[in-house]
Amino acid sequence: MTSMRCEQVQAEMIDLAAGDAGAEQKRALHRHFLSCEICRRSFEEYQSTWALLGEWRVDVPQPRATAAKVFRAARPRYGKFAAELAVVAAALWVVFVLVPTRLLQAETDQRGRELADAGPVYVSSGGMRALAPSESLETGPLERADIRLPDGTTVLLGPATRLDSKTHEKGLRLLCGLAKGEVEVAAASGPPIRVAFPGGRVETVGTRFNVRVSHPSSTFARAVSRVTVHEGAVRVEDGALRSETALRAGETSTVVAYLERGEIVCRPVAGPVGKDHMILGAIRQWRAEIPGIGKVTVCRTSAGEELVGGEWLRLNFVRRDGLPFVTSFKEVRTAPAPMNCDPEPGAAFQRHETALRFYRTLAAGHDQALLEDAAANLMRMKDVLGRARILQAADRISVSHPDGARELKRYAEKIPRIGIIESGERDLF
């Protein structure tokens, strides 16, 4: 400590001035001050400043608030009555909330039993009503509902569930065609109850099971149906594999149906609907390519002889394997373009929609996994893009369709590592 440097002394002299220096430190600093006039003056200034601070004194006045007042403020007046207040609140809750709720519930149950004795009922957020012999039911995104049969059988419908119900199907107590969502069946003994779902069906007597249909892709390209048995045993039939599986309580079976093979992409062309119309040509071609496809019906919103741009079309088909209710459809809105502007307004719209989805995927980031995922999505939608040829490489995706490629190129210019190859092909279907 004999040879302290001025930089080191600068910090320590403040501690010394503030009375926070040890004996050894104090000695070393004073030794330094003997040899360094500048540091000594600085120290004296700090000492003087520290002393000057003592000039600011304050008088503490008498307290305005007495200790008793502060004490009362800290302890609420009702403190000692808290237990009594809690009892009164609980009693009021029982009288005004719990009892009326229970009474209402009992009344609803009684009405439900009366209705259920008369026949199947459908209970949803809209209330309770008799179920028609054949009815399409759909629950909202947050809604739950159930079908109750007179024998006590209950079919619970989860949120966002769509199913067709039939109560007079031959040999069955109830037939449910589950298109999407989730149902759970708790069946009493009696005739079979059948739940048909995309790609299969499950039929049972005196058991409880759950069927959940999910569409991992927003394009409805694939449906995954999961059957879980809670009580008893069921038989699950896989339509695609033509196989049956017996499931017992606690077991689960998954059936995957590739619905894109049954979908019809609607691409109306403005003009008269006749034998040579493009839609009919497309259906013929699909029939030739896809053995499973059955009857196809075209639903139109207008009754005119000619298709016009902007018209809504819905193409339904029923699979030829005979599974009921496994009906897929896709709604396509054609572009509201003037006639003769685009020979295929629907196609253009579809490509546009697909491209937008893809852009969003790219915009979210363009790492390898995301890129591959986007490419896979594009592959699934190749019919929409018109037999697009997609080359998937580490850093490259190409789309052969000129419209799609042009749009993609516009987007890809902003993103490095992605190249678009234009082949100039224009081959739809």
């Binding site: 910090a11 403040i14 501690d15 001035a17 503030a18 926070d20 200034e45 700090y46 003087s48 400043t49 520290w50 000057l52 601070l53 003592g54 000039e55 600011w56 004194r57 304050v58 008088d59 503490v60 006045p61 307290p63 305005r64 608030a65 200790a67 008793a68 007042k69 502060v70 004490f71 403020a73 800290a74 302890r75």
Partner: protein, 182 residues
Amino acid sequence: MPGSEDQEDVDLLEKAAGGSRDSFAALYAKHRRRLWAFLVRLEENADVVDELIQETFVRALRSAKGFAGKGKVSTWLFSIALNAHRSRLRKRQRFRLFRQRSRPSGTADDPASMAEQADTADRVRQAIGALPENQKSALVLSRYEGLSYEEIAEIESCSVDAVKQRVRRALMRLRKELRELQ
């Protein structure tokens, strides 16, 4: 090991939390003056300081069970007071004009000397008032309340080195500000 005075504070606090008005009154009488002197150097508005004192004791009584004998009661009260002051600062824009200023108590009898001393004290008060908030509280606790850096670190919830640094910086600034008075 807490001293007998500290242990007495802990006992008073426990009894006050249990509902003893007398214990609370004793605790209040014992610590109010120091807290007032501390807060008035940070806040300078006597009305606000009164409110902060009440708030400090109310908070202390309500959270007495959380104290659980950790450290000194006085340090804990300073910590609550500082937090109450800082929450108030955050809630409103600080005003610089004081409705009631703390009057300096001089020893000189002649009016000229009193005026000079008042002027010096006022300059010191203004210089300290212009310090950044964390430097100001560290300096006030060190210079006026005589707390050790360890105790200040506990109140400020920071390290001892940080406290030292804040006091050093405060003094460096004050040295410049008050140079002409020396």
